[in-house]
Symmetry: C2
């Protein structure tokens, strides 16, 4: 999916919602556990019920990887049951030396057909660029994450007072463009999203940390929205585990719809 | 495997060689391609022939992941065919927020039984510590890598002139000890290994970049060895693809033996 198509979906659904799929056997409704592939059934129903309000889905690869070889079959099935007009994100946080990153890229972009993958920047250019060599595929590079540990290294300032996350933003714009490179920007710090937006005015940001992790959607929109929206705001647990009863998918739909309504207001206000 | 056991193996074999398993269908000997699982056959024969000279094996997870669900079954079989007295490294470069890292840890330490996993530091403490909560399991944290891109961020100096990789070394020593934390330290820059050794006198270093990537073994030993060796030096392509004919495993054995003989000399000199 290219940038124009993504923005078109955002406008069509009046939503920039990404639903994070973190399917944990210990947390999914117990009635699903008798099914042949409970994780698949769970994800499929979540996707079906929320697709009117979400423009992107983000399977967290760890949750599938933890299930062994079968988990990868499940992941493939989950990817295939997504509507064709949504943007798919493999939240894998991969990154290794060139020839190895190329294999990760093939795994997620060729063997599977994800639109994008999250990538860690620590190893620099040759760990990132192999992912950028696929038409209409995207790297979503970690810039400023929403977890506590983000403060350990991402905020370290260089001799000129530039924090590491800004170096990542600046340097990586030599490798990719707003048409194949997005950034992960945590929502727990609204004013910092504004900082990031200054460094990357045209790029899309994938914003985790709204909901369970405590970020505010209106702050994100205020500081982060650009003329093509430029935001994909993720909610995982707040949607997929809103109910753990038989009605889980319907309740997920309601929660997604709530966020979409908020998003529509914010798009009317800032877009 | 604990640190004493690892050092004991190093002494027993007079070797600190790690064999990197990067099994690429396009590169393995063609006669293997008729076998039911060519990648497994390749790795198994490499392991069998080199085990006298290697103390560790490092499957590069991307090469297995790129094969889809079947690749994970192959990885499990490869892990199981390693002798019990070698140190196994899942070269996966994982790292995500706490609850997700915990799942990656379970995947590699419980579902599979790797001794260690390589982890990327960018997301900080809560992305690393979940891997440190397993008895006799190890994190091998990226500090200073051997690829060109290592210069993009790892060498950025803070206001006090401290490069990022040193901040990673210092901060992470608050999270783990020399008994559960190692570092990836690239071999392409001997003098920098000495710098890292000053910051982490007791920790083991996993040193890639000897051989195909151009590092010098004697420089690594000179700058990096400590009183319990403190080094695992990896060679991948230089061993596993030394021959692509039917004799590949025997030639791999010869290459591993050559390195082991060099290593014995260096251990005699510096240990």
């Amino acid at each position: 999916m290219n940038r124009a198509e993504l923005f078109s979906q955002i406008q069509k659904k009046s939503s920039f919602l990404c639903v994070g799929l973190d399917p944990d056997l210990a947390k999914i409704p117990s009635h699903l556990k008798n099914e042949a592939d409970p994780i698949y059934s769970f994800c499929k129903q979540i996707i079906e019920e929320t697709a009117d309000f979400a423009v992107a889905y983000k399977p967290n690869i760890a949750f599938f990887e933890a299930l062994g070889p079968k988990g990868w079959e499940t992941l493939q099935k989950v990817l295939e049951c997504m509507p064709k007009d949504v943007f798919s994100i493999a939240d894998a946080k991969r990154g290794d030396i060139g020839n190895t990153s190329k294999l990760y890229a093939k795994a997620f972009f060729e063997s599977m057909d994800f639109d994008s993958i999250t990538v860690a920047p620590y190893m620099g250019k040759d760990s990132v660029t192999p992912f950028l060599e696929f038409d209409n595929k995207w790297v979503i590079l970690l810039a400023l994450t929403s977890n506590i540990g983000s403060q350990d290294f991402q905020l370290i300032e260089d001799a000129n007072g530039k924090p590491l996350f800004k170096s990542v933003l600046e340097k990586s714009q030599e490798w990719g463009t707003p048409d194949n490179l997005m950034y992960v920007v945590g929502a727990t710090r609204g004013e910092l999203i504004g900082e990031v937006r200054k460094s990357a005015p045209d790029h899309f940001f994938l914003v985790p940390g709204v909901g369970a992790q405590g970020g505010s959607l209106s702050e994100v929109a205020k500081y982060g929205m650009n003329s093509t929206c430029g935001l994909l705001v993720n909610s995982s647990r707040g949607i997929i585990y809103a109910s753990t009863e038989k009605d889980f998918a319907k309740v997920a739909r309601q929660e997604a719809k709530k966020l979409q309504i908020e998003m529509k207001d914010l798009m009317d206000q800032y877009l």
